[in-house]
């Protein structure tokens, strides 16, 4: 498998990252090295091994349906770069 600069551009687009053409080349090379390294796992024989969704081996961790106190509105908004009244404010979203 080989990643092209186009693939990097696509991935960057999904992540909303702006990168230069030069960076695309650099990242494509670096990501290919990563994939090559990870790709060595493909040499393992995984016949008969059940796919794992989680490495811990734990299952069924639940909480009961009991209300706990929430943050107050001021606390909730503290870290926001822009607010208005009790709301977070963001640039207008156009569908």
């Amino acid at each position: 498998m080989k990643l092209s600069a186009m693939d990097v551009e696509y991935a960057a687009g999904l992540a909303r990252l702006e990168i230069t053409d030069q960076e695309k080349e650099i990242f494509a090379r670096q990501l290919n090295e990563v994939l090559l390294y990870i790709g060595s796992l493909n040499e393992l024989d995984t016949q008969g091994v059940v796919p794992a969704a989680h490495p811990g081996g734990l299952t069924n961790v639940f909480r009961e349906d009991e209300v706990r106190e929430s943050l107050n509105t001021q606390e909730a908004l503290t870290n926001a770069p822009d607010t208005r009244g009790d709301f977070f404010r963001v640039p207008k979203i156009i569908d």
Binding site: L14, A53, G56, L58, V61, L77, D86, F87, I93
Partner: protein, 477 residues
């Protein structure tokens, strides 16, 4: 060319848990903006989700009620996309191992029942709410709803008309409300629907190019939007044009669907297993426990009402439309064993009084015991049907049993023959002209005499007895 309509629906139902799916924040609706949040549903760094057990059990109920196979292995997955109502930048949902798959429900259409397949039911979290400010080119975000538990119910493309789609939707809605796992409030967004629509030449087995419709906030919107879209697509195809695969928004005011401008970018959610949550294993014992807890479902109950109580299908439909109302009706029947009469009272006066106050049957002030007692009092001739109308009104206002109201108001029906004979004699004496005319052949005047007797007794005379005694009196001398 003759086209066949193919519709599939995706329904999102908010679960009636007290808390969100992955944190202890309340799910209450209508609270001040951003007052029900915490580090988990705000996506603050380091906060970890923990699954609400009740949300899983509620979802299992719907899966069992629709005949789905519950997967033993359940895995949550991240669905990645950016939108300001989604603070984490991904929605925790389910992908390859959803809660349940392969069910169906039956819907009633003109020519009997049709099976509508259910592809899958999965659990996920709701997003926050956005309010758009046209004037200021800004949007405001309220995250109270972020993390409210949802189930998504995906139908197979088995629906063949807008009417069938609405039927299916109403059935799902009814089941969810019956199970008491969703309040079904479409205005508040507790029950939402997206529709996939396509047309194909009749007889063709492959599906045509489809559009996805959004913003369907009521059953009426669903019907109108689908009808509009079917017509729009047919006109395109008849002209030899292609239907573009896209998402369209229903605009109720203009009565049309409109393309949502996409930025020409295909959706790529890059699902992967959610590393912050461990798998859920649902064994047979757990399934059996939830199954044992299921109430009788509306369709089964309707059929039983018809067969066990001998009431018309229409009555059974009305009475089972609300689980608490059906419970109420059954309590009354159990106590008086007069199913048809009980159905008439419940569907008539009881429902009218409840509707006037927008009250549910579970807090009806007329206790089932009281209604049953009144029905028996009518049958015994103690009160007339007309008096009963007044009594039930009083029972509703005061919550008191009928005997007490009858005693207080002196409403007991007059069944004393001597007393009625005397009243009849007085009426005949006071109306010599009418009496002569009646005896001269004007039979219609019989009703006039009955009316006079009722008037004199303040409506308390037993009508059947009045009839008998009056006949005797008129033909006697």
């Amino acid at each position: 060319m003759d086209f066949e309509t193919v519709i599939g629906l995706e329904v999102h139902a908010q679960l009636l848990t007290c808390t969100k799916i992955f944190c202890g924040c309340s799910t209450a609706f209508g609270r001040p903006p951003n007052s029900l949040t915490c580090p988990v549903c705000l996506a603050l760094p380091g906060a970890l989700p923990v699954l609400n057990r009740k949300a899983v059990e509620f979802a299992m109920k719907m899966a069992l009620a629709t005949g789905c196979r519950i997967n033993e292995q359940n895995v949550f997955a991240r669905k990645n996309y950016f939108y300001p109502d989604l603070p984490k930048g991904y929605q925790i949902s389910q992908d390859t191992l959803p809660l349940a798959e392969g069910g169906h429900i039956l819907i009633e259409v003109q020519d009997g029942n049709t099976k509508i397949g259910i592809e899958r039911i999965h659990m996920e979290e709701d997003a926050g709410k956005l309010i758009h400010d046209e004037a200021n080119r800004a949007s405001y975000v309220d995250l109270n709803r972020a993390g409210v538990p949802l189930i998504e119910i995906v139908s197979k493309p088995d629906l063949r008309s807008p009417a069938a789609a609405v039927h299916y939707l109403k059935s799902l809605h009814e089941i969810l409300v019956y199970l008491e796992i969703c309040d079904g409030n479409m205005e508040e967004g507790s029950f939402r629907c997206d529709a996939n629509v396509s047309l194909r030449p009749r007889g063709q087995s492959t599906l045509g190019r489809r559009t996805e419709l959004k913003n369907l906030n009521s059953f009426r919107h669903v019907q109108r939007a689908l009808e509009y879209e079917v017509t729009r697509q047919r006109r395109l195809l008849e002209k030899g044009l292609e239907v573009e695969q896209e998402t369209r928004l229903w605009d109720e005011a203009q009565g049309m669907t409109m393309s949502m401008r996409s930025k020409g970018e295909a959706r790529d959610y890059r699902y992967f297993p959610e590393p912050d949550l461990v798998p859920v294993v649902i064994d047979e014992a757990w399934v059996a426990k939830v199954r044992a807890d299921l109430p009788e479902l509306p369709q089964a109950r309707r059929e039983r009402f018809v067969s066990a109580y001998g009431i018309p299908a229409y009555d059974a439909g009305v009475l089972t439309s609300d689980r608490r109302l059906a419970d109420y009706y059954e309590d009354v029947v159990r106590l008086c064993d007069r199913p048809k009469i009980a159905a008439n009272w419940v569907m008539g006066d009881v429902m009218r009084l409840l509707n006037e106050d927008r009250r549910g049957a579970h807090d009806c002030p007329v206790m089932p015991e009281s209604l049953a007692e009144m029905i028996l009092l009518i049958e015994e001739g103690v009160v007339s049907g007309k008096m009963a109308k007044e009594i039930i009104e009083q029972m509703y206002r005061t919550g008191r049993p009928p005997a007490q109201i009858i005693a207080e108001k002196g409403m007991v029906q007059i069944t004393d023959e001597g007393e009625l004979d005397a009243t009849i004699a007085a009426v005949l004496e006071a109306n010599p002209r009418q009496l002569a005319e009646y005896r001269g052949g004007r039979d219609k005047l019989f009703g006039y005499f009955v009316g006079q007797v009722m008037k004199l007794t303040g409506g308390k005379a037993n009508p059947k007895l009045v009839n008998d005694l009056l006949k005797k009196a008129l033909h006697h001398d």
